[in-house]
């Protein structure tokens, strides 16, 4: 059964699930879990926060799959939930000490290959990049992550964020300008 499911579209899987095929949800989960976790993780910067939000996102999807309208792309729907959950979480849990969060992320990574000292030097530029991304206003950060990291089309981004493609492109441009401005002020570029 599961091998057959892999060839179906997202929307067909939703229909199957509604008709009582439980494995269809597993297939949807397999398709989106890593992508969404990555988006949430980079949006929030903190692995434990990302775990919480990821769990919340799929819980919502699981509970509200019956409310999904088939006239829109499932991918946009699920991304929209992920973006909204992340934004809400960020709003409720404002943190200022970005560097410390990044350090925590580094130290929680079991695969680290560099000494902390080395990391401090080599990644000081990257830290400033993260700081710049974290400084972006929510809508700009979301567009930047969806485009830069998730490599989504502007048409998809516009549907997720319920804005025009033009607005999405403009936000991307402004996001990049902000990052460049920040890196310039820090003497990196």
């Amino acid at each position: 059964m599961s091998s057959d499911l892999t060839s179906l579209s997202d929307e067909s899987l939703v229909k199957l699930y509604r008709d009582g095929t439980g494995e269809a949800f597993d297939e949807l989960y397999a398709r989106y879990a890593v992508k969404l976790k990555r988006l949430i993780y980079h949006y929030l910067s903190d692995p434990e926060d990302a775990d919480d939000v990821f769990h919340e996102v799929f819980l919502r999807v699981f509970r509200h799959l019956h409310t999904y309208r088939e006239d829109r792309l499932f991918g946009s729907w699920i991304y929209q939930i992920a973006v909204n959950c992340s934004k809400n979480f960020k709003r409720k849990n404002v943190r200022n000490d970005i560097i410390v969060e990044k350090e925590k992320r580094f130290f929680r990574n079991e695969e680290e290959k560099f000494s902390p000292e080395k990391m401090m030097i080599r990644d000081s530029e990257l830290n400033e990049f993260y700081r710049a991304v974290d400084e972006l206003k929510s809508n700009f950060r979301t567009v930047f992550l969806l485009r830069f990291d998730q490599k989504m089309k502007y048409s998809e981004i516009s549907e997720i964020l319920d804005c025009s493609e033009r607005t999405a492109k403009w936000r991307m441009k402004k996001a990049l300008e902000h990052i460049a401005d920040h890196l310039k002020k820090e003497g990196i570029i």
């Binding site: 879990a33 980079h42 769990h55 819980l59 079991e110 530029e125 990049f129 460049a180 570029i189």
Partner: protein, 738 residues
């Protein structure tokens, strides 16, 4: 975002006046590095799916790694029941177990399925004999004597084995009816009890209580041992348990609000609980327990006297210790396996065997079927059949015997032979992985720490002890004659005994000690500065004396001169803090000090900052007497030896300076030096990314170097005639000093 789009965007950017002078290539490289890091993201989604679906269905289920999981809430609510604490000086283990709805049935009693030796039942004032078939009711206490044991079953769902010298109180057995939850409460005041739950489901619970701890259990098979000194040990065969300390404050907090206060204490202690999984062992030490009792009662009294809220900080730092069964050894797992395995034979009781083992020397440890059962002479009540007996003692060759035992053949004597020099330091080193390596000279001890936090002390031609801190060390520990003080990635400071590696105390801290911030010892105290800007002062025996917070992170150790603690903060200032009370009294701008250490000599402090400046600051005159600029960032320790300062910058240039700021010599190693160099005899030993350099400390000449095949993960440690350099997974490199 493809390259074309990026190219267009960057070109457009460059046309703006504001960005005309930016380095576009550099910007492109930063973006590419960021993309690489984004792409390195990995995640295994599988463990999250079942909890999502269960919770989505309304079931109780905890997802992996959840910080305040549903289980914790279930446990917290259970331990709030006032009856649990009422009058009981005996503390508590609470176990919540979940049963499948389909298995629900009405059960209100347990039945003894097997009893051997002196097993009695205390019901009110009556003392009754226990035999197979004896029913146990709420309030009954089962007591076993020497060489005795009893098995108790509840329906076909729960099996309990009560070992010898044990006292088990059945506080509650409720099966109710099909619409309500089952739950089980038992107290283990002393001895060993093993539990095996056949089925798990939602909504049902069980509770077990001991003097010094509380455990929540999601698993099906676990054991608990309460020793005479009130220390407690848990072993989990299957599933998970959650363990926390318990302190009964009912006598301290007598009055109408005592239940509330007990609940608050329980909730705060719950925050320090740990999860113990399959094949893991959890210990709650008697010393830590007694200290905790004193601290909690003092905090409760303070709270009641002053009318202020009970503060969480006062009760922290009492986290039970979790080890893998492999590291810790086991005492219960083989029995747990036996009672967890369904019997295929149609018999109600196993043939009993009193297995006697006599070991020589009488200090030798005896294990039966992998479980530790005692030293010297041991008699174990078990079943007839094949058993494996392991006898071991330091300095002797271990022996393992596997044979069939029966009531007719129920004893064995094992005599160990002395082991002369089996331990080989090179053999040990070749199999070790390392992330930190150092020597404790006064003990003649080489200490190796792995990335996962396993601390191993080697000396006297043997491995002296091993201790798993369950989290990587973020800074080289400090040590004195008795203890080693370790800072770990799980935001803990833990003091280990140098004699045997046991935890003497531990405290939760906010933030981690990194980039050269390490525990600093001074007089009767130790100081720690964290990445979250907190500085702590603890007494050496584990009392938290004060904490002060700064706006920036701390990436180099605080240090003490007289009554002042100097704290280098990320904002580039060096703050003065009163040693006694933690009050901040001033600051001086020194530039960011990250990773590098500082040296105190009289009123002069020698510092090297991130920007590459070496400074001499006279704190009595509050002036910087001199500065020396090196060519790059300084992020590793500066050393002082015989009137010379030795500074190494990030580019790998070693500077020898006089204490007046003059340059004696400079040597360029050409590569970044990885860790704090070591001065030993007339040489400085420094490890770069691929090589060890030995530099004459008087002339600065490189006397010899050694290029390594594998990337070093540590600096160099000197012990006896050998130099040790750790690699992450290619063993520890051992070189002769000459």
């Amino acid at each position: 975002m493809n390259n074309d789009e990026l190219h267009i965007m960057l070109e457009t950017l460059k046309q703006k006046k504001k960005f005309r002078d930016i380095d576009v290539e550099k910007f492109r490289n930063v973006l590419a590095s960021a993309r690489m890091e984004y792409d390195s993201f990995s995640f295994d989604p599988a463990p999250f799916l079942a909890p999502i679906k269960n919770e989505g269905d309304g079931s109780l289920s905890a997802r992996p790694g959840r910080r305040e999981n549903l289980w914790g809430r279930v446990l917290s609510s259970r331990i709030m029941v006032p009856s649990l604490a009422a009058g009981a000086v005996a503390a508590v283990i609470v176990v919540s177990l979940l049963f499948l709805p389909s298995s629900r049935r009405s059960v209100d009693h347990a039945v003894c399925s097997f009893a051997y030796g002196a097993v009695t039942l205390h019901r009110g004032d009556a003392v009754l004999a226990v035999n197979a078939g004896t029913e146990l009711l709420r309030g009954d206490r089962v007591v076993t004597g020497e060489r005795s044991c009893a098995d108790v079953v509840i329906d076909d769902t729960v099996k309990i084995r009560v070992r010898s010298h044990t006292s088990l109180l059945v506080s509650r057995i409720l099966g109710h009816d099909a619409d309500t939850s089952m739950n089980l409460d038992v107290n283990v005041d002393k001895g060993t009890v093993l539990f095996s739950f056949k089925k798990l489901g939602k909504g049902d619970s069980a509770a077990v209580r001991t003097p010094t701890s509380v455990a929540g259990v999601r698993g099906t098979s676990f054991g608990v041992e309460v020793r005479e000194d009130r220390s407690v040990r848990y072993e989990v065969l299957e599933g998970k348990i959650r363990v926390r300390n318990h302190v009964d404050v009912s006598d301290t907090a007598a009055g109408p609000d005592s239940g509330d206060l007990q609940g608050r204490v329980d909730r705060i202690l719950e925050q320090e609980s740990v999860t113990v999984s399959s094949n893991q062992v959890c210990t709650v030490g008697a010393d830590a327990g007694e200290r905790l009792v004193r601290e909690v009662r003092a905090a409760v009294k303070r709270s009641m006297t002053t009318g202020t809220a009970l503060h969480a900080d006062a009760l922290q730092g009492a986290r039970p210790v979790v080890l893998s069964a492999e590291e810790s050894g086991t005492r219960m797992l083989s029995d747990l396996r036996a009672i967890s395995t369904p019997r295929t034979e149609n018999r109600s009781a196993p043939p009993v065997l009193e297995l006697s083992i006599a070991a020589s020397p009488d200090t030798a440890s005896i294990k039966v079927n992998g479980d530790y059962r005692g030293k010297g002479n041991v008699t174990v009540v078990t079943e007839s059949g094949v058993h494996t007996i392991e006898v071991s003692e330091k300095g002797y060759l271990p022996q393992t015997i596997q044979k069939q035992f029966s009531p007719g053949e129920n004893s064995v004597a094992v005599r160990l032979e002395r082991d002369s020099g089996r331990f080989s330091i090179r053999e040990w080193a070749s199999g070790a992985s390392s992330s930190m390596l150092f020597t404790i000279s006064h003990r003649g001890m080489l200490v190796n720490v792995t990335k996962s936090g396993m601390v191993e002390a080697v000396g006297e031609n043997r491995v002296l002890w091993k201790r798993n801190l369950n989290s990587h060390l973020t800074a080289v520990p400090a040590w004195d004659n008795e203890r080693m003080y370790c800072a770990t990635g799980n935001e803990m400071i833990t003091a280990l005994s140098l004699a045997d590696g046991r935890t003497q105390w531990s405290h939760k801290i906010e933030g981690i000690l990194i980039f050269g911030s390490a525990v600093e010892l001074d007089g009767d105290s130790l100081f720690a500065g964290t990445s979250r800007g907190n500085v702590y002062r603890f007494s050496r025996n584990g009392r938290k004396l004060w904490r002060v917070s700064f706006d920036g992170g701390i990436f180099s150790s605080p240090f003490v001169s007289g009554d002042t603690v100097f704290v280098p903060v990320q904002d580039g200032n060096l703050y003065r803090v009163n040693r006694m009370n933690g009050q901040v009294s001033g600051k001086i701008n020194t530039g960011k000090i990250i990773g590098s250490s500082r040296i105190v000599r009289g009123s002069r402090l020698y510092l090297a900052n991130y920007h590459g400046e070496v400074l001499c600051y006279n704190h009595e005159l509050d002036t910087i007497e001199w500065r020396y600029r090196t060519g790059g960032n300084v992020i590793i320790a500066t050393l002082l030896d015989e009137g010379s300062l030795y500074v190494i910058n990030a580019g790998g240039t070693v500077y020898s300076l006089t204490l007046e700021g003059g340059l004696r010599w400079r040597t360029d190693l050409g590569r970044n030096v990885k860790a704090e160099p070591v001065i030993h005899g007339g040489s400085i030993y420094a490890v770069t990314e691929r090589a060890l350099y030995t530099i004459d400390k008087h002339s600065g000449h490189v006397t010899w170097s050694y290029v390594m095949k594998n990337f070093p993960a540590t600096g160099v440690a000197v012990s006896g005639d050998n130099l040790f350099i750790g690699t992450e997974n290619k063993g520890i490199i051992v070189l002769r000093k000459d």
